[in-house]
Symmetry: C3
């Protein structure tokens, strides 16, 4: 529950107070199509603004391109970016950290190794375990049933949700968020084949290092390096069910959608973005500022920034042409068949 005045005082360049009663109160945030008399509403289109007005929303945050009504009981803010204004305003309504409130900061049913080092204001949930030599930064939250193995290092203000696994010696930056059922630091997949066709395990001695402000979605797996480090750079965000193999490095400020899989020893630059279900083979390099369409498959180095798609990978424009041509393939075969027949060239086919 907030007043418009609270918004006015937010130190965010994405929000400008326009007009209306600063004592108006919003109890929740709803999308325009579900607008209610007690809800703050973000609107980027004329119809959305009309819906919000019709519902007598107390507070409306409107994209700056919209013309606001002359008179209205709503209080108005303007924004150059609905997304950025949501990022600024929604934390005021976010009760996420309430989930981790408990009578004692260190839950009596958790296990913290005597040689682990916990910073100040650390919360450890029930059935979580913190291993020998682990170092947990200030204001960290370790969810229920989360396992932090020995010698792990975790920066300040990082949130490990419940049922997370962080393997021995891995390092997680500050202000990171790791969602449930993530596996960080399982072994890389590496075997040597004997003459008899058996596969001998090559031990994986390295670790995983995540920079600050990294977010890892639920049920992802990030394997430890063979000898050195698998690294994910500062500010990179990864969606659910992604797989990062051993020795991979991913740069800063990437945004990676669900189902991404990257094989061993590949390197991705900064500001990478991709749609869902992209796969990248082993030992390739992708330069900075590359954007990949969903379902892309990368099998060679990408040396120029830009948008790409498809398998094999093409420029995004060519990829669209190729994909759109696919359903024409059966017709094309018929046409070629007719051409060959017309020119009596079918014979030569037998080669």
């Amino acid at each position: 529950m907030i007043t418009a005045e609270v918004l006015q005082n937010l130190p965010s360049s994405s929000l400008t107070y326009i007009k209306g009663d600063l004592q108006r109160i919003a109890k929740q945030v709803l999308p325009p199509e579900a607008a209610q008399a007690e809800a703050l509403i973000f609107v980027s289109k004329k119809e959305q603004l009309e819906a919000a007005l019709a519902s007598q929303a107390p507070i409306i945050i409107a994209h700056k391109s919209l013309a606001l009504p002359e008179s209205s009981s709503s209080t108005f803010f303007s924004t150059p970016s609905i997304q950025l204004s949501m990022a600024a305003v929604l934390p005021l309504f976010d009760g996420k950290m309430n989930r981790f409130r408990q009578e004692f900061k260190i839950h009596p049913q958790s296990f913290v190794h005597p040689n682990a080092h916990l910073g100040s204001n650390v919360t450890v949930g029930p059935f979580a375990s913190i291993g020998d030599g682990a170092r947990i930064g200030d204001f960290c939250t370790i969810g229920a049933n989360t396992v932090v193995e020995n010698d792990v290092v975790i920066g300040d203000h990082t949130l490990l949700h419940s049922l997370v696994f962080i393997g021995a010696h891995c390092e997680i930056g500050a202000h990171c968020e790791i969602h449930p059922h993530v596996t960080i630091g399982a072994d890389g997949f590496s075997f040597a084949m004997t003459a008899q066709g058996e596969h001998k395990k090559i031990p994986q001695l390295g670790r995983v290092v995540l920079g600050d402000a990294v977010e890892i979605g639920a049920n992802c797996t990030i394997d430890r390096a063979a000898l050195t480090e698998t690294r994910i750079g500062r500010g990179t965000k990864i969606d659910n069910l992604c797989h990062i193999a051993h020795n991979v490095t991913i740069g800063e400020n990437g945004v990676i959608a669900a189902g991404f899989k990257i094989a061993g020893s590949s390197h991705i630059g900064n500001n990478f973005m991709c749609g869902g279900e992209v796969s990248i083979r082993d030992h390739v390099k992708v330069t900075d500022r590359v954007v990949l369409a969903g379902r892309s498959g990368v099998t060679f180095d990408i040396t120029s920034a830009g948008q790409y798609g498809g398998y094999p990978l093409e420029s995004f424009r060519d990829h669209l042409r190729t994909v759109m041509s696919l359903p024409q393939l059966p017709k094309l075969r018929k046409q070629v068949s007719r051409l060959l027949k017309h020119l009596n060239l079918e014979e030569e086919e037998k080669s």
Copy 2:
């Protein structure tokens, strides 16, 4: 261990007693190719019936299309649907709930918040935790190491297996079954990009709501909505390793095979079915009674019921033609090359 009499008394329209000793006993159920003297056998083909007879199976449930032998020591039932008769009979042999039997219904090594409300006959396994304000229905089972966060609501007779995560405020219907390592209610994947190319998190204030009789396979992820609800309708069944993004709604009685991934704010109607590894982009609508082939990729609305496949999506019939044509592509290129040469049209190529 059951007698034929027990089957005769089952209130199932999919099973008709035909003939034989009602005191015959079956100790287990086996497939026809592994038939044994003490096993109940389901048979839908002549060879299977012969194998079952040869093994002297005590009880045989045969598809109604099969001619049964004049004389046999086996006891026979007839069914119009092997699948439905299995669904009716196999629960008699299913010891699944034995896994959750324990000396005390609430395991002494679990954690149930004093403000949680548990219905009657609830089982809570070791190292499970139930949060503040959570409401668990009657006859629910909460497996070992499962985390139910604060204010979660769970309907009667629902089974959460071990190592399940249900995030704060989510709601699970009655008679649901959630398999291990499922994550329900992690944050949707949503960030606002700043002018500097950094990504600010947009808090996810919504929740997940599953209808009654929903089943979620192992290691699936279902993200909470940005503001409202991610919803899965009554009776929908989802296989392993699927991803449902924020704000998605899926209708009733769907059957969704493994590896399915659907991006944010897309909506699927009732009676949806799909093969493995299907992906659906964000903000599309799929009408009722749509069936998708495995590996389909949906990038636009589907407005008519029917069968579809491929990427880009086509009618199932066209999809098959397209896929079957793909291996002809190299030959087609040669043919066109020959045609161009034959007609001296190669020059014009340079454009």
Copy 3:
């Protein structure tokens, strides 16, 4: 920390002492590009050897094809296979089992059912639970928060990492390694549709059986069989985020990369290998010694050993031709269009 002498005494045919001081000490292992004065280095190329020499690496293990320097302070070993020599040497540097060291072998915060049977030298981590009737072999390690349900059987020297789920009655061989968030023995995905379009669950009465020396990567799911056994043969290694459906059998010594998904009742022979993101439909048979390219889709039986790729599947050579032809498709359409125009055959198109 080891001496060259320790390597000389290793009973491995993949390592031959060549020359140098046997008392030289290596404190760690690094890749050639990060060679340091205290690190053992494996080198397979001339440049790598030069880098190792420049860093004054105490011990160098070189592929036998490389010419070693006349004089050097390094101690040299030769190997016919870098991979096999890594598999032989790296265990000397692997501290993995230290993660599981604890004051009491059976952690006081674990739960071991009184009717479970533990072999000698078994370690059980905090918040792990071992069910009624489970049998754990000698020298097994059960990680933190891992759930072993009733009547599970686990062979000697097997390592279950943390947060693993092994369902009731499943059997794991000896010398296996199961990574975090693996689900073994969830129900197969099987429903019978009623006339009203609802889906009745068909109980899954079978189990999963893994042979000896099987490794399962993080967050994989292996479903129990409907009536009998889902089986993975001796020595098969499976990468992260793979899905094995009910009734599947996979032979011995397979190597299966991340994202693999195989549908129900399919059978794969011995010595199977595949790249990432391969999918195999239900009820197909794949013979021994089949190798599949990444992203392959198998929809029919493979009856001959060999290399394959693509969807639909082709021989690996044909697959490459098809994939490489795809980007030519838009150009091909234009060429055919021109040919039709040239010959005044466009009319006939309207059919």
